[in-house]
Symmetry: C2
């Protein structure tokens, strides 16, 4: 993708019980993809989970954070699924691939 | 960590044969931790791998990229282990945790 754009780096540790987490993740993925300014997302998990989503600008990130269904998912995440998480908002200045 | 600082987002797909990859990864982790400006690293892998390393500034990232042992590891990675990878250099502007 052409720089500059934004990355939201979400790192998390899940609790032992995660009923409903996968389904919610899938729903949020589908919803995020419909947001204006959404550029893509990549995810991996073993001991910890890392999800990096890519966005056109800070405004699209802010709107996604405040989306009502997403707010509900965030609340459930804190109550039910996440032991711990960290969110980092970062401006991607350079990108190269092999 | 106190913002601003830099994140290097490394996403990769491995080939089927990855002999020696784990050992090299461990060596590079130990070496990176000794570099000036290194702030931390987080990694997860299932279908794809995501490694995010954190650095004080662009200069420390540049020096780590040009470290001779690391250059050798990068070369081996392209020849032997990686099907594909992307590197993104990003300025972390905000961070919050739960």
């Amino acid at each position: 993708m052409e720089t500059p754009y934004y990355a939201v780096i979400f790192t998390s540790k899940l609790k032992n019980e995660t009923d409903g987490y996968e389904e919610m993740g899938q729903r949020m993925l589908e919803l995020a993809q419909k947001q204006e300014g959404f550029l893509g997302v990549e995810s991996a998990r073993n001991e910890i989970g890392i999800t990096v989503s890519y966005w056109k600008d800070l405004d699209s990130i802010k709107k996604w954070k405040q989306n009502l269904d997403h707010l509900d998912a965030q609340r459930k995440g804190r109550v039910a699924w996440y032991e711990q998480y960290t969110v980092r908002i970062a401006l991607v200045e350079r990108e190269y691939s092999f």
